[in-house]
Amino acid sequence: MSWRWLVAAVAALAAGICLVLLAVDVGRWNTAFARDDVRFKVQPTRSDLWKPRTLVPFHAAKRLLGVDDDLFYRQTLRHFYLAQPRANKYLHTNIDTIRSEATVALAEYIREGTSQARRSQAANLLGILGLALAATDDPGQRLRFLLFASREFRGALTFDQSNEDAKFNLELTLRLLKRQPTSTGGGAAHGPGRGGGAALAKPGHGY
């Protein structure tokens, strides 16, 4: 009989230790979010952001807290920040590469994110990257990336119709598209405005 009590005591002790370690990990995650959000503003290039050292394996604390989407969103935003959409591509040699990686990260969040509002924001940011990539001398490439940007801004509005940034950016993109020469020579670009709506509407009226 005594050895059963011993086994039960050892099991209870082990469970208690696991729970204490789990509690420590939960605290570390809480600290990591608060601390690294501030760090990101100062040193966004740090690669160790939002990666606390945990004690319990298999990401138990992270799963328990359900912070996957928060983490995923922060890392996606970091990719966008590093892509420097306002930077001059001729002054930064590998900026297109970083922007390409950011487009992949943003597209991944749009596919797999759980919050509609955040997916809308990610689509808006992806469209902004499209606009950044459209800053090229090649007219074909410019048109291609402008069409891509307009598609992403529309996607942002399908996720969240109240996304004012996406509405503004879509209107801006459609204005730029109207200025693009077509293969038939002059006129509005074919593509997003073909079906009517914002591309053919006067600026500032409807989407």
């Binding site: 297109d96 390409s100 487009t103 596919r111």
Partner: protein, 287 residues
């Protein structure tokens, strides 16, 4: 309760009535611990064997995701070094050996369709000679020329190859057909965003794609791992003795020794379990 007890007694079979179980306590403890240890060992062995078998099955499925059909997008640009021909030959030979159907797009700075989707993979056989491993000859052009070496090997625009392959599949009524890219991944810098958009489009539309990296530079490999994901990369089965026109199966000569060893370990653990933890056989005797 009594009914349950009598049912369990019937289920257990005949038992030896003894006055006390105290004397059996050490044996019960030992058997209990042994059962747990053997149970854990068996589970671990079965999991390991399953994982080994699964990875082998994945290798057996071949290079093209899904195993059938699709499009091969082959880089024929000048950046492909002759040293990389072995990998290309392995990939082509593995596809030929699969006796499936596939299309072929060759690309450099532009892309064109060499074989339409659904062509027998045996149609790739004539291409093997252009990628045959030959020793360099002395002179200004040490390697044998191929049809693309003079006019069709300017830059590298991987996105053009991917776009042509996807368009071909869409025309053939397979818009979600798999795509296999065989390239050194040394695409032009301005092509990187287009490649990223192509991969994004494939993922969004559910188009499976895989990459065979042919002697890539480290930075290019790292970039494409970021763009396509590390899971997109596959390696052709290396042939033990390469040779033109060789018809031996690509998997020939590869015995799954690890799987066999794990299976034997599982059998041994089961035997030990039966030997040490099995019920004590009590021969039925006539009353």
């Amino acid at each position: 309760m009594d009914t349950l007890r009598s049912f369990l007694t019937r289920l257990r079979g005949p038992t030896i009535p003894i006055a006390t179980t105290e004397v059996l306590a050490p044996a019960v403890r030992r058997t209990f611990l042994l059962r747990i240890a053997l149970g854990v060992l068996l589970i671990a062995l079965v999991v390991a064997a399953t994982a080994t078998g699964r990875s082998r099955a994945a290798a057996d499925r071949g290079l093209v995701p899904g195993g059938v059909g699709g499009m091969l997008v082959l880089d024929v640009s000048r950046s492909i070094k002759p040293e990389a021909n072995k990998t290309i030959t392995d990939a082509l030979q593995q596809l030929i050996d699969s006796h499936g159907r596939i299309g072929l797009v060759a690309f450099s700075d532009i892309a064109y369709e060499l074989l339409p989707p659904g062509s027998p993979t045996s149609e790739l056989q004539p291409l093997l000679r252009y990628f045959a491993a030959t020793p360099p000859k002395p002179g200004p052009d040490p390697f044998l020329p191929n049809p693309w070496s003079t006019n069709f090997s300017g830059g590298t625009q991987i996105s053009s190859g991917l776009a042509v392959a996807h368009a071909s599949l869409a025309r053939a009524g397979e818009p979600k057909g798999p795509i296999l890219l065989v390239s050194d991944l040394d695409t032009a810098p301005d092509d990187v965003p287009r490649v990223a958009l192509a991969f994004n489009q494939f993922r969004a539309e559910g188009v499976p794609f895989r990459i065979v990296a042919v002697a890539p530079r480290t930075d290019n490999l790292s970039l494409f791992k970021n763009l396509a994901g590390p899971g997109a990369f596959v390696h052709p089965v290396q042939r033990t003795s390469g040779g033109l026109g060789q018809t031996e199966g690509a998997q020939g000569g590869h015995t799954p020794w690890l799987l066999i060893a794990l299976a034997l370990c599982v059998l041994a653990a089961l035997a030990v379990n039966e030997h040490w933890n099995g019920r004590l056989p009590v021969p039925r005797t006539a009353p």
